[in-house]
């Protein structure tokens, strides 16, 4: 089963046979790898829930944790467009706000239809769970549609031009949210005052599950044929095209998937904060998310997760120092960029399975390695 699996892709079979030259290399079968990851996720979840239930984590701290999760989704999704596709879009906050408004408006309109109150979301009745999933999907789809509209013209441009055009689009989205009520003539987004009355449906559990699902989906996509096409475009667009990759399609796909997950994060954000105001989603928000990706290392999912966690908690932890906290934040960014310009983790991605395999093979880093191994660069499980 294991060897058949490994032979399915030429790349993997090449690795396996290189190892067999120096004695058989033990590998973990895929189900075991999935099981290891599932157990890890469960441990995190149970510990988190117990700490919240036991009162170790205060209500304020758990709100911060929810925001950490939301920023993880935002950073990991932006990482598709920057780290994997190699473009520099600056409009992530725009997609986030579209998703947030989409989800919040859908939920607040559906609640009276289904006879639900805000209270039901806190107790978590089954209908609410489905409604919430639906709401997040609606948010994601709204953002993805905007992604298509923006992506098709914008992806003809590269580098700083793409950055400017995406920045402009996200500003357009913000202004539309601000003024759409006056134009269409009925209450939709609430204008500058904001959209209120959003039920507080976001909690640690559903943020955590969404983070895990999003990371899993992105990871699986990047490991697939489609993911390799996206990575090939980053490495060399002309060579990718000459190899038969439909570059227009895959650039748009990466951009739209990135926008979709930003929309999902926006949906959770709406439920976490409870009010949606256009002013929040200015371009500073986009920059903030981009900083997380760059700091963590472009193309590293774990890097995005760590830096999103760190940069969300840091300003909160420094709240006691009030006006000095933004200075500390800035200094941390400068120091990292001076000493680790490739980001905290570069393009390295963590894999527990890989470490276990190394131990099984007694193949430790301190033993001399002759070749740079493939696993250290690719986003592995």
């Amino acid at each position: 089963m294991d060897t058949q699996n490994a032979d399915a892709r030429p790349v993997i079979s090449a690795r396996a046979s290189s190892a067999s030259a120096s004695g058989t290399r033990k590998t973990l079968p895929m189900p075991v790898r999935y099981a290891i990851n599932a157990v890890l996720v469960l441990i995190f979840l149970v510990v988190g829930e117990l700490m919240i239930d036991g009162g170790v984590i205060t209500r304020y701290q758990s709100t911060v944790l929810e925001q950490v999760g939301i920023y993880i989704i935002l950073a990991v999704s932006l990482n598709i467009a920057t780290g994997y596709l190699g473009q520099l879009p600056l409009g992530h906050a725009g997609f986030m706000s579209v998703g947030g408004y989409g989800c919040a408006i859908f939920l607040t309109r559906m609640m009276p239809v289904l006879g639900l109150t805000a209270r039901d979301f806190v107790t978590g009745s089954p209908v609410c769970v489905f409604l919430l999933i639906g709401g997040l999907l609606v948010g994601g789809v709204c953002a993805a549609i905007c992604g298509i509209i923006i992506g098709i013209p914008a992806l003809r441009l590269k580098g700083d031009y793409l950055a400017i055009i995406t920045l402009a689009f996200s500003e357009i989205i913000r202004v539309v949210m601000l003024n759409i009520d006056a134009v269409v003539g009925f209450k939709l987004t609430g204008g500058a005052a904001g959209l209120t009355g959003i039920p507080g449906y976001t909690n640690f559990l559903n943020v955590f599950i969404t983070v895990v699902v999003v990371c899993f989906l992105i990871h699986t996509m990047m490991k697939s044929r489609h993911g390799r096409a996206i990575l090939a475009i980053r490495d060399n667009e002309i060579a990718a095209e000459a190899s038969g990759v439909n570059t227009t399609y895959y650039k748009t796909l990466a951009f739209v998937v990135s926008a979709f997950f930003a929309g999902v994060a926006g949906g959770l954000y709406a439920g976490c904060i409870g009010v949606m105001q256009p002013a929040v989603f200015g371009f500073m928000k986009s920059i903030e998310i981009l900083v997380m990706v760059v700091l963590g290392g472009m193309g590293s999912m774990l890097g995005s997760v760590i830096s999103a966690t760190f940069l969300t908690i840091l300003p909160e932890a420094l709240r006691a120092f009030s006006e000095y906290r933004m200075i500390v934040y800035a200094v941390v960014l400068i120091l990292v960029m001076i000493f680790r310009p490739q980001g905290l983790l570069g393009s390295y991605d963590f894999s527990l399975s890989r470490i276990i395999e190394r131990v099984m093979n007694r193949d430790f880093p301190w033993k001399k390695k002759q070749t740079v191994r493939a696993e250290e660069v690719s986003a592995d499980a």
Binding site: P10, A14, A232, D235, A240, G244, V372
Partner: protein
Amino acid sequence: MATMLSVQDLHVSYGAIKAVQGISFTINEGEIVTLIGANGAGKSTTLNTIAGLLKPESGSIEFLGESLVGVQAHRIVERGIALCPEGRRVFMQMTVAENLDMGGYTRKESENREELARIYDHFPRLKERRNQIAGTLSGGEQQMLAMGRALMSKPRLLMLDEPSMGLAPILVQEIFEIIKALHEQGTTILLVEQNAQMALSIADRAYVLETGTISMSGEARALLNDDRVRKAYLGG
């Protein structure tokens, strides 16, 4: 010999600059045909247009009786034309094996495995270094990798854009030996070269390009002895 590729009166421009101005040539099945000429003669432009990376202004390109004008680049790969682009455009952050895998992107994985073995036979050095990151390979190895990647799509027509560029003479020799071997196995090759001596010595037929037009054409051996070619491209 059946005609495989036929280019008629091809015009290609970059904005106001006319890079290719009405060239016509044919390639027969099983041949090595070379386009030689100085910098800016329009050689690479011609290859990129055939591969679908550039759109022609006018003219026709027919491959096995079907027009390639307006067909997207990835569809052209599926039809059996592979381009090995100029300047060793390998996927720098991928391993050698992953690069080759990308070359077989349009094909089934089971077919790729056989092809991979064949390519490792041609390029034993790639086999040794299959887990190495492509960006850390030497220039010659990157060129071999780019060629191997183009071959992974099992093309009916292989187009090589300046495979000798920036390589030491001994490596150029090695690359040309491989091109010869590929030809002997029946691959049809369109070779673009500035190294006219090497190109003419292995090709069947040749076309000389000058500022976007074909100035001479004929048997490669005849051109190798032609006075005008010798003066212009072979250093006396």
